[in-house]
Symmetry: C2
Subunit: 458 residues, 2 copies
């Protein structure tokens, strides 16, 4: 062994961890850097975001969701240890304890550099019946397979989705596609609490129009089961919904038990705190990224926890670059998210009204109706754009879009404008692509920016 050879240990074999490992390997050969990665599950580098479409049948094969297999990682010179769980991080001595898959024996593995990419775990409330057969999360490929097995074995056709965020509405669509009657039980006033309620109401209407029963402001109190331990209904404070299958889509929390036990700094959302280079604060040789960290919201100036594959991949890329001897930073996020339920597209970026208030901002909001293409062009689809702008400065604070084809990705324009701290008046002059098949002569984003500019001066 080369005396100058260092060892990188990666905890977690999904997007952030394996991106970091791959990028570090790209920059440093194996004789300079040994890379050991531990993954406690059965898969590496898979698309959790794709699970609803696999369950719904648009994606036929589970393996289509796997971006890179363990073998592919190993072929690139990464010593990947599957089904091996890290049970302790010993920061003082620079080592992790790993429990192997066969007989559960543990060994201490020293590291020179450590990457923590332990991801997030789904919220699973401690309700009576929560562990009944037929109650499923959709976090891992194993979860997805278990849900598909349940669907195959189910005689009844009643499904209850708990939660009406991205995963909730996507799973509602998936279950509709599988021929289920779907009830969504939602704690909030409207579905998609990542939107303001007025925009969430548009999602509610679409869900209802698709035949989904949506119970808003409803909290699940217990899961009712049959004598043989299978789910039969979901109970809320004031109602009971029959259920042959239940999908939990309540959200996730950073998986930071290991980090916490090791005394690493956690933020108020329970995620690891890092510097701009994705180094764990106060620890020169430990990096963290993906769903287990908090990120800076560039609009509000606050830390947030956002579990999203695209951030995890960016983090991994940046960590790998830094570990590999390069230099890269992650400046933060503006909170962009897109989703769909059947042909309804849903997008947001920046702050909602409540976020802006919580951040101490004073603002105006406008909501406009426009279309995806020139009104006369076939397929022109309606969309609603809501825009928030700060009083006095006129700075863009956030955009929410609900509409049909062509609605969701328009939010990217606002995401870049937020990053560049543009005012809504500056946005009115943006040189966005115009041709009748692609946009009205005033793109919906421009229409909203004009209206917001006017609102600020009246």
């Amino acid at each position: 062994m080369n005396s100058s050879r260092q060892r990188l240990v990666v905890i977690g074999g999904d997007a952030a961890g394996m991106s970091a490992a791959s990028q570090a390997r790209r920059l440093k050969d194996a004789d300079k850097l040994e890379i050991i990665a531990f993954e406690r599950g059965h898969f590496t580098s898979f698309s959790a975001c794709g699970i609803p479409y696999w369950v719904g049948g648009q994606v036929e094969q589970r393996d289509a969701l796997i971006a890179r297999t363990p073998e592919e990682h190993r072929a690139r010179g990464i010593d990947l240890r599957m089904r091996t769980e890290v049970t302790e991080i010993d920061v003082d001595r620079g080592r992790v304890r790993a429990r192997g898959p066969v007989d559960g024996t543990e060994e201490w593995v020293p590291y020179d550099k450590l990457v923590i990419a332990t991801g997030a775990r789904p919220v699973r409330p401690a309700l009576p019946g929560i562990d009944a057969a037929g109650v499923h999360g959709v976090q891992t490929l194993d979860d997805g397979q278990a849900l598909l097995d349940t669907l195959q074995g189910t005689v009844g056709r009643e499904a209850v989705v708990v939660g009406a965020g991205y995963i909730g509405v996507e799973m509602a669509e998936a279950l509709l596609n599988r021929g289920y009657r779907v009830t969504v039980v939602n704690r909030g006033r409207q579905p998609m609490s990542t939107l303001d309620p007025d925009m969430g109401e548009l999602v509610h209407r679409t869900l209802t129009g698709l035949g989904v029963r949506v119970a808003n402001e409803a909290t699940v109190t217990k899961i009712l089961t049959t004598e043989d331990g299978r789910v039969r209904a979901v109970a809320t404070d004031d109602a009971e919904y029959p259920a042959d299958v239940v999908v939990l889509g309540i959200g996730v929390r950073p998986e930071t038990g290991l980090a916490e036990a090791a005394g690493l700094p956690l933020g108020q959302h329970g995620g690891l705190c890092t510097d701009l280079a994705m180094r764990v604060r106060g620890h020169g040789d430990i990096w963290a990224g993906g769903d287990c960290v908090e990120v800076l919201d560039l609009v509000s100036g606050r830390e947030r926890h956002i579990a999203l594959g695209t951030h995890a991949n960016k983090h991994g890329q940046i960590i790998g670059t830094n570990v590999g001897g390069g230099y890269a930073t992650f400046p933060g996020v503006v909170g962009t998210a897109v989703s769909k339920v059947c042909d309804l597209e849903i997008a947001r970026t920046g702050l909602r009204e409540r976020d802006a208030r919580a951040a101490g901002l004073r603002f105006r909001t406008v909501t406009v109706e426009s279309t995806s293409r020139a009104g006369y062009y076939p397929g022109a689809a309606p969309m609603t754009v809501k825009m928030l702008a700060e009083e006095r400065t006129g700075r863009l604070l956030g955009v929410q879009i609900v509409g049909r084809e062509g609605a969701a990705k328009r939010v990217d324009v606002a995401a870049v404008a937020l990053t560049a701290q543009m005012t809504v008046e500056q946005m009115t002059a943006l040189d966005l692509g115009y041709a009748p098949p692609f946009s009205p002569v005033w793109d919906p984003i421009l229409v909203a920016a004009r209206r917001a500019t006017r609102a600020l001066t009246t």
Copy 2:
């Protein structure tokens, strides 16, 4: 008449002129501002960009292309005089000479404020046979109707499109839709000279795949006619293409004869020169906008002439705001344009390689292949993204995209980034919307930005 009442005269009743008139009227009542608008044609506020789709049959009714009729403008308090041509501007005495539709009598009409929105005229080379029956421009609704009449009366099925820019390829599609065999005669190395040739070649391949014959590097020398004066073929230096109908799509020039005769300042492309408030330079009470002006290219720092409805509408809005006593400016463009031919989407923004060289910039280019959605998601369509970045600063200089569904409007992200003068490295951190139906986990624009960042450091 109120002694403080002023008169605004508008020359040209299309996008820029009527937007200016409407916005001025919104800000100032009729007792403060009289508005007289002259339009020499039969229509106001129509979408010239929509003509190819009307000719192609996707848009069935001509009137669908009319955003606002003369009657609608009049109902808003604009004294609109149709088929009335302004034949002279007398700047010294603040008046225009207008020739009425009925008997051609002319009258002088004084103005306090003047808006010049005379648009552009199509290039029509002085070739033998250019005025033959069956040779058509596609600039006005009358042009479109005349072309449709020709198509209806044509027995043969051979069409030649002269020019392979936006109008050329859109008209090629329209004529394919009408069942014609189409030949495109193109002076450049590849179609779409608004792209670099390597990207234009992708358009060439698609056109050829659709059965369009594309003659590149070919200059039309004459139009051959039958004995009764109808077109029968188009001749180039070295070939002859049979033609039952010919469509000219060679481009347009600013229509600034009136302005030139009045001694107003023209730029090197023949367009009017304005200040940031769209005032004609050196003239406090004369504004100009739309296809008859030159605009500042924010990336190269040079003036350009770009005939595009979306700019014309913005100019009109800004002029109307200033004329109406408000304040607004047009900072310039970054050169965004989108188009399609059948299901191929084509987009560009910023500088091509030749533009960057002409502007004295040193740069790197990268070209990446990606997809519109996650690779495993149904309908994921390939796209090619080319990106130019400045050496040393790393500043984004331009993006070109050719692909299928979801390709064209992605250019908007680059348009905003150009406006904000972002570096390609800054772009790698952009928080763009990600979900499998809408994007791979790395959006194609991010993939290109990463590659460009790497190219700049190696």
